[in-house]
């Protein structure tokens, strides 16, 4: 068996990809996550900002120092920027089920796309925190033996989450191979 190097032939000019996060547009049908995830994330952000702002306000009242006012302004500004990025980031989340693997894309600043074969799945997590439950959402996470794999899909309707979980486990069971 000679290791005839296949090498990296120049990539076939399939034309420019539709978008940086959307490769193989002809075979992949992306599904987006629920926009209610925006509200969940915004509420989380509001909670965090609230705690910080109350702390700063107390400090401002107690000491009367100008710096606290500046800090409050900065926190509000950061919060405003986060609001915009949250809205855009939720729209950037997406997943697609192909015949043999699950595709998950996310991230705005650093864009990530994971391709996880069903046969490599070790276990599936379905989780829903109190905030997510309030908005009737759940998160599905796929674990492989590699720690670096990241295939997490937040903001799914519970019905969709259990459908995905069942499909993944069913596909995983029929195809799992040992390490």
């Amino acid at each position: 068996m000679t290791g005839e190097p296949v090498g990296c032939p120049p990539p076939p000019p399939t034309g420019a990809p539709a978008g940086p996060l959307e490769p193989w547009p002809e075979t992949v049908r992306w599904q987006s996550v629920s926009t209610d995830l925006i509200r969940v994330e915004l509420l989380r952000l509001a909670g965090l900002l609230g705690v910080v702002l109350v702390g700063l306000a107390v400090g401002w009242v107690m000491s009367g120092h100008r710096l606290f006012g500046v800090a409050v302004g900065a926190v509000v500004l950061v919060g405003a920027v986060r609001v915009v990025t949250i809205v855009r980031a939720v729209h950037a989340w997406g997943y697609a089920e192909r015949e043999d693997d699950l595709l998950v894309r996310h991230g705005l600043l650093v864009r990530r796309l994971s391709v996880v074969p069903y046969s490599r799945m070790q276990f599936v997590d379905v989780s829903a925190g109190p905030l997510e439950r309030a908005f009737n959402l759940a998160t599905v996470q796929l674990h492989t033996a590699a720690a670096a794999s990241d295939a997490r899909v937040p903001g799914l309707r519970p019905a969709e989450a259990s459908r995905l979980r069942d499909r993944l486990t069913a596909l995983g069971e029929t195809r799992t191979e040992p390490l």
Binding site: M1, T2, G3, E4, P5, V6, G7, C8, P10, P11, P12, P13, T14, A16, P17, P20, P23, W24, D100, D101, G107, L109, V110, R111, R112, L113, S114, V115, V116, P117, S119, R120, T144, A145, A146, A147, A148, S149, D150, A151, E177, P178, L179
Partner: protein, 473 residues
């Protein structure tokens, strides 16, 4: 992956223990034998000398913990007394824990019971066994004992180090566990090689390679630590001479610091002394060590990644180092001495090529072609653009990195767990992306800063080839 692998023999029936009951260990461990299962074999104790060894080991720790300054403050007599008391306490604890520790094989599981107050029973599923290692520290060699370490998928650290067993017992148990583990064929025909254990017995099976100790010494002298040490010593000595004062603590601390700097190369020399590599059916056997000998067995089907390193100072010699990754080690594990990742501590190119061909059949190290990222990647890597690269071979994905210490990571397609494409903000401006191939052990391989279209093509190709390789293998 290994087509020449014979089908594993059916695992021996678990009921009657083929272990010769060691004369020294009591047959039934644990008060009452809490096993419960009717057909389970009786629980085995560890070797009765183990607490003594643990106590002696703790003596070293105690002395290091008390440090030089304590010695100079309290005088030698008190120091010795303190150390002896602490070590004695540790030994008593070790005796108690020895009394409450037991192991036995139940079906395809190894069960380890331990603990007096917090009882713990660990069941180690043997089909997830990745590697077995027999470690013999110096003291254990003097007393004819050995420690058995098992590596299991999903464990953050080495599971169940059985310390200590008699050497013969450890060899028998290892063979039995590997036979139960599945892909490793039961070593039926070969004569039991571990029963008589000289200092470093020749590994069973077909010998692949032996590293010459002279090369090992030279290679470790060619490390930055050993290279720069004379300058450090000269600096300190010059300071002593210029100040004209010597104190015991200053001298002793300097020596300790020097030893610390030299620790890594010296450890490598001691660890990799007498390095022997052999192949026995479908497993790879590695033996090494001077003061502490290790005999490690890795089923070839469990190799996840092979890494090749060309350190800067070794380039004149044309030497390289090979590493292998098995699943079950987190990359973050601090103590890398216990990672069974040695494949070749030092060797020239033909040797490396021969060993890689043995571990990953059909892969020729010299023929692995990698291509560079596009020219515009120089904005991100002004110096190292030409040092990184990636290529698809017939059976493996190869990724090159490192400007000074050149590295090559080889991942068989069949071992890829998932494929990721990431793109940072700067990469987006340049229309570049990084493609990662994740593996169950180690960090996987990454092709940094590829052209976006090529990255998509690479990801699709990796996914498809991984799929095809899994189907075929």
């Amino acid at each position: 992956m290994t087509p020449d692998l014979p089908m594993p023999d059916p695992p021996p029936p678990p009921t009657p223990a083929p272990l010769p009951a060691p004369a020294t260990a009591p047959g039934d461990g644990g008060p009452g034998g809490r096993g419960g299962v009717a057909d389970a074999e009786p629980r085995q104790r560890l070797h009765p000398l183990s607490p003594v060894l643990h106590g002696a080991k703790s003596l070293v720790v105690v002395i290091a913990g008390l440090s030089w300054s304590t010695l100079s403050r309290v005088g030698f007599g008190w120091f010795a007394l303190m150390a002896a008391l602490l070590a004695l306490g540790a030994t008593v604890l070790a005796v108690v824990s020895w009394y409450n520790t037991g192991y036995h094989v139940v079906g395809r599981e190894l069960r380890v019971h331990e603990g007096l107050l917090w009882r713990r029973t660990r069941a180690i599923p043997l089909e997830r066994l990745q590697a077995v290692e027999v470690v013999r520290p110096l003291l254990a060699q003097l007393t004819g004992l050995a420690e058995l370490r098992l590596e299991v998928v999903g464990g953050a650290k080495t599971e169940a180090p059985l310390a200590y067993l008699g050497v013969a017992e450890a060899g028998v148990l290892r063979r039995r566990l590997l036979a139960l583990a599945g892909p490793a064929p039961a070593p039926g025909p070969q004569p039991a090689p571990d029963d008589v254990a000289p200092a470093v017995p020749p590994p069973p099976g077909r010998a692949l390679h032996a590293v010459s100790n002279r090369d090992l010494l030279v290679s470790q002298l060619l490390t930055p630590q050993a290279f720069l040490l004379p300058f450090g010593v000269a600096f300190v000595v010059a300071q002593f001479v210029s100040e004209g004062s010597y104190s015991f603590i200053a001298v002793a601390s300097t020596i300790t610091a020097m030893a610390g700097v030299l620790l890594q190369p010296v450890r490598r020399v001691l660890d990799d002394w007498n390095f022997r590599l052999a192949r026995d059916e479908g497993t790879l056997r590695v033996r090494n060590g001077l003061l502490e000998t290790r005999a490690q067995t890795v089923p070839l089907s469990r190799v996840q990644t092979v890494g090749v390193t060309w350190p800067l100072l070794w380039r004149a010699k044309g030497w390289l180092r090979l590493r292998l990754e098995v699943a079950g080690y987190s990359a973050a594990e601090g103590d890398d001495r216990n990672r069974p990742d040695r494949l070749l501590p030092v060797g020239d190119h033909p040797t490396g090529e021969a060993i890689v061909a043995e571990v990953l059949p059909g892969v020729r190290l010299g023929a692995l072609a990698t291509t560079l990222p596009p020219t515009r990647a120089r904005w991100l890597r002004p110096l190292s653009r030409r040092a990184v690269g990636a290529g698809l071979d017939e059976r493996v994905f190869a990724a090159r990195s490192g400007l000074l210490t050149r590295q090559l990571t080889v991942v068989p397609y069949a071992r890829i767990q998932s494929v990721r494409v990431t793109q940072g903000p700067a990469q987006r401006r340049l229309r570049l992306a990084t493609v990662h191939a994740d593996t169950a052990g180690g960090a996987g391989a990454a092709a940094p800063d590829r052209d976006l279209a090529e990255a998509w093509w690479l990801a699709a190709e990796l996914t498809a080839r991984a799929h095809a390789a899994r189907r075929a293998g």
